[in-house]
Symmetry: C2
């Protein structure tokens, strides 16, 4: 059915275009990125952007949604690799790190945590998107801690939801710290030592 549509064929691929748009937003955030920059990054003219995705906010939300889907799936896979709670947890953060440091320039942290947060104060839709993404992180981590407890790696008294939110906090902080280029920060060491701190009192 979707074999070949009539009319002039499009010269862009929606997914890669959204990826390029996200890359542009990643640097300067939603308000700081102009449609001209998005147009240049995607190779699409503004009218084409409008026809394909809608206005600026719609482009942003769709780009973020696509990123979230891919990124969280990768983190989830690392978290449930089955190498034990400590290693899985560390590889969860380590899976995020290359993305946070990507961009071929100064590190930009997380495109969601570091850009959607601004708009969340004044835009209810972006706020809801962001809250949903944060929930998603908490839930994945909570499920992993529950699994570890059920498998006997953690004390029975350990509370997965609390550990999950604490572990989620670590990801938020990593996103911010990497983008801030804190000179004292050694990301891998920060991850390793923080995982150890979280697990310290809860091992079976």
């Amino acid at each position: 059915m979707n074999a070949r549509r009539r009319g002039r064929p499009r010269t862009y691929d929606p997914e890669t275009a959204l990826g390029a748009a996200l890359d542009a937003f990643w640097w300067r955030g939603f308000a700081g990125t102009s449609l001209d920059e998005i147009s240049a990054a995607t190779g699409m003219n503004r009218p084409s952007l409008y026809a394909a995705f809608g206005d600026k906010k719609a482009i942003y939300r769709k780009a973020v949604e696509q990123f979230n889907r891919d990124f969280l799936a990768r983190l989830h896979a690392a978290l449930f690799a089955g190498a034990g709670i400590e290693k899985d947890l560390a590889s969860f953060y380590l899976a995020a790190l290359p993305t946070y440091q990507s961009g071929g320039g100064p590190a930009r942290g997380c495109p969601v945590i570091c850009t959607a947060t601004i708009e969340a104060a004044v835009d209810n839709e972006i706020q809801a998107d962001l809250a949903g993404a944060l929930d998603c992180i908490d839930e994945a981590l909570t499920a992993r801690f529950a699994l570890a407890r059920d498998q006997g790696e953690l004390k029975n008294a350990a509370e997965p939801a609390k550990l999950g939110r604490m572990a989620g906090a670590l990801l938020h902080s990593l996103a911010v710290r990497v983008r801030a280029r804190q000179p004292s920060l050694k990301p891998e060491a920060f991850i390793e030592e923080s995982v150890a701190v979280i697990l310290a009192g809860h091992r079976a």
Copy 2:
């Protein structure tokens, strides 16, 4: 010497003007806030703003610097109140909470962590300001954990710097989560349970 300067006296107070400017930036960030909004918030005209503080970025940086000075001093006082590590740590976060929830509308989190982070990727000066603020938080918490260890509240094996960075992460996350208005978030409970998780394995 500074008794009475010649010329027409200014009708604004620089500190309160910077406070009002910060309040404007707090909502929409640096790029999303226009000089007209700052002018309206401060009651100063653009030329007066220029003469007093410099261009838009200088206004932003001075407003953030003033906030940081006051805010971090308050947090520091709460952290070293001397009620024991668990209570002091909790009151450290609880001291930040009213500020994060202030503004007479939807919660806006931290004006530094939630707005400077965006610009940090493309502006080296704001990046350095932000990194310095994050360091300042880490150092205060590290010093507090060191004190707790020396006072015998924590094991001798506890490593203050690692605990300090973990505790700093919690503040970063609180700033983001409050601004995201995560529906599931109960800030006070989040603080209390996270402090407990951090301290769990390190008490003497």
